[in-house]
């Protein structure tokens, strides 16, 4: 059986991190979200994979290539305009015969999650999961095993069962996608499923006990990181100088150096080619990407630092996400506390949050960022500034 992974979307709500990459390529514990999906499929012996790509597709294609490294055969199908999930699936119609799986590429799952639909079934089926925040998702109403109704982001609480967007379908869905698109002007899979159910199609709701985590807001990256680091293996490919204290699971990539006097409390993942210390403190759960430099006397806790980042000496990062390519001066402060994060049309309260800093932000020395602040990519901040409001893309703070 083939599988189709939907990976064409930009993921606007995860800005600033989707300004330069598709949502599925956001790395959690140094692994793109979509890689968790590919690995879950392969573990279930589903190896013939179609990935629907669109926004910044080269990054996905360059990362996976032909899928050989993952024991899979991956083919790519382009969705030129991102009109909806049903439209995305429709792009692969000539390559799909009989039964197949459809999975969103932007949720972290494990092999267990898709087990109920991993072998060919007689009916269509949808993986459903329990959620503590059902109002963010498509809520599912069951009638015995079959699904009766899927309600997108309901105002009232109907049930805590939500659709994961993972389906087992067959090629007779394609005429239905056409019908829904023509008559109802809808191009999302949920609408198509509801249409088919109304039309008398049996769609089984299969409960999963496996992990299914979604990132809705950029700070969710911190929760996903914490969750993903639970399975950290101890591996030491780099060089550790004497007088380094390491406790708990810490994974250190090839070519990385941890210099004297550094204290690391795992689970912590450090990528390839990093230069840490001397005298740096890193506390769990934290991930550093590839090619990251952390200068002396800096403390990083519960944070995600992406790749090609330089963090100056005497800095503090707590519950902070730093995007690719950030160059941060010395005495930088992004400490965490309870904060209200201001988005375009909502205000959200978060318990522990430092700041959320997009890709390629250049920060001078002695800059302090208040908790809950979001900084757009390619922004430049001069020395000795305090940032207490969100900053858009490419702005200059002088």
């Amino acid at each position: 059986m083939k599988a189709v992974i939907l990976a064409a979307g930009e993921g606007l709500r995860l800005r600033p991190f989707t300004a330069n990459r598709p949502k599925v390529m956001i790395k959690i514990a140094n692994k793109p979200i979509i890689e968790y999906v590919v690995q879950a499929l392969v573990a279930n012996n589903i190896r013939d994979i179609e990935i629907i790509v669109g926004y910044r597709k080269e990054q996905i294609m360059t990362y996976f290539g032909d899928g050989f490294k993952w024991g899979a055969k991956i083919n790519y199908v382009s969705q030129e305009k991102q009109l909806g999930t049903a439209h995305a699936l429709y792009q692969a119609r000539t390559r799909l015969k009989g039964r197949f799986l459809v999975l969103p590429g932007d949720n972290i799952i494990e092999p267990e999650t898709i087990k109920p639909v991993a072998t060919e079934m007689d009916d269509w089926a949808s993986i459903i999961a329990r959620s503590t925040t059902p109002s963010k998702y498509g809520v599912v109403c069951l009638e015995g095993k079959p699904i009766k109704r899927i309600v997108e982001k309901p105002d009232q609480e109907i049930s805590n069962l939500v659709s994961t967007g993972i389906y087992q379908l067959s090629d007779d869905i394609f005429p239905q996608i056409e019908a829904v698109s023509t008559h109802l002007k809808r191009n999302d899979l949920t609408s198509v499923m509801q249409y088919c159910i109304d039309d008398g199609k049996r769609v089984l709701g299969e409960m999963t006990e496996g992990r299914w985590i979604d990132a809705v807001f950029p700070w969710d990256i911190l929760n996903l990181n914490s969750e993903a680091l639970k399975g950290t293996d101890v591996s030491r490919a780099g060089k550790i100088e004497s007088n380094v204290y390491i406790n708990g699971p810490v994974s250190l990539g090839e070519g990385s150096v941890i210099r004297s006097g550094t204290y690391i409390q795992g689970p912590v993942v450090v990528g390839k080619g990093c230069d840490i210390g001397p005298n740096v403190v890193i506390m769990a759960p934290t991930t550093l990407g590839n090619n990251v430099t952390v200068n002396p006397f800096t403390e990083i806790r519960s944070s995600v630092v992406m790749s090609d980042v330089n963090i100056g000496a005497h800095s503090v990062l707590s519950h902070t996400v730093l995007g690719d390519g950030c160059q941060i001066g010395s005495h930088f402060s992004s400490a965490s506390e309870k904060a209200r994060i201001i988005l375009e049309n909502e205000i959200i309260e978060v318990d522990h949050i430092g700041s959320i800093i997009g890709d390629d932000v250049k920060v001078g020395n002695m800059v302090s960022v208040c908790s809950g602040i979001i900084i757009g990519p390619n922004t430049r901040i001069a020395s000795h500034k305090q940032i207490s409001a969100n900053l858009p893309d490419k702005c200059n703070v002088v």
Binding site: D66, G273, S307
Partner: protein
Amino acid sequence: MCGIVGYVGNEQARDILLAALKRLEYRGYDSAGIAVVDKTVQVHKSVGNIANMEKGLPELKGTRGIAHTRWATHGAPSTKNAHPFVDCKGHIALAHNGIIENYEEIKRELVSKGHTFTSETDTETLVHLIESLYDGNLEKAVRAALKKVRGSFAIVVVDKDENKIVGARKESPMVVGVGQKANYIASDVPALLKYTNRVIYLDDGELVVIEPNSVKVTNFDGKPIKKEEHRIEWTIEDAEKGGYAHFMLKEIHEQPKAILDTLIGRIPDMNLGLENLSRDISKVALIACGTAYHAAMEGKYMIERLANLPSSAHIASEFRFSPSVDPGTLAIVISQSGETLDSLMALREAKRLGCRTLAVCNVTGSTLTREADFTFMTRAGPEIGVAASKTFSTQLVAMLLIATQLGRERGMLDPEEVRHLITEMRQLPRQVQSVLDNSGAVKLTAEWISSARDVFFIGRNLSYPIALEGALKLKEISYIHAEGYPAGELKHGPIALFTKETPVIACAVRDATYDKILGNIRESSARGTPVIAIGFEGDSDLQRYADLVLQIPKVHELFAPILISVVFQLLAYYVALSKGCPIDMPRNLAKSVTVE
């Protein structure tokens, strides 16, 4: 990354194994080996690619066998370390992809029992272990051996008596090909597609025994496992290009990773393995052909700037006729494949004249790396597109690292300057990614130029070799006549050719040459010639003088050539694409030129 194959059937195994192995060659080729079994196990191995092995390969009779190809990123490849390995009696042969973690303790025990080893590899231990457990049943012996080893592996094993191949996998890929009166094992599907499209994917902890008419899969304890057969409906070409229309575009996009891989482990502490490279050296000669010659020219500027050593760049085929070198010269020979004949001859000439020699190369174990005194490997990975892309940008990174090393050794750079350069180098993968992410303007420019008959590339100092490289790239794949010039030379001739139909592409980054190049842009515009300028982002002056501006991130001037070269690769690619040229296989050109 390695590739392994196995065959058992009714036909002669030799040619089938070679053909299958060649389909895995794009994953690596620094040594290769084959074992074909008739009544005896006949093994043949060699350093270099599969074609190299084939050259000296005798006619091996037999209808079953195994073969192996290897791409080492670390450590020297040698015939001794090449697979397959045989046991003491030469009755069992094995090829392996992966690592046996506890091989030392097993080896110690085997040595004490009288086994003799010919290599230092973990793999050889495995074949002796199987030998020690063999009592006439290969499958049983392999099963018993796997119980004792820890690590990751995909292995294929064959012995002289039983008409079967045993394979097993743990954390390394392996597929079984199901044929007509013949069965196959390989690391990857492309190896099999010439013979069958029916495959079985093995999973971790599974062992397979193939005979001409049967495939039996069990777990390591011997419990049978029912496996599903898959039918493959794609072509070899599709598989290898991973979604991209051409290898060249794929390789252009692989550059951030290739550059990172070239830097990893070398920075921050400058561990290049080139200690005392400059001792008793008073000058440097950089020698290469084609695109690599442009890297050599950049190397000259970089070494002169950072190490204050007089340097010269030479085209290899010319160097041989007037080699102005002596024992005080460091000769740096640059070749992607390490097999370019002109470069090899130049290396030999330099050695004969007493030079210290350094090879900059992308293929471990190639002739160039074996013959030079020092080696610096670019870690770009295999490059299939004939027009060099990632191998060139990693050669430029190599030049930067070597120049920094020389400067440090000679006391021309203090630790703070070295640190500053390294901090800049670390940003390269990201900056290249940013050029790739913003290729929209390049695509538009490409459409604009694709109707031109002649195009001129100009630059000064560090940008001059890049102008030559930009022109070469465009010529190679789009067949548009293009010339690269040092911008100061325009008024000494080439400007006579400038018309409204000859676009000029000017490298105009803000370095010491900036004002002069602006002058050249103006003098070109004055003749009605369309000018495309490449400069740092945010450079508003350029917008005023040029018709079109392509931007790269603002970087240290020594690093700008790398970013500009990526822009020129994309430009050449999209021009060739819009003209419908055969991008990966331009007419009359070959990837590595091993003839004079």
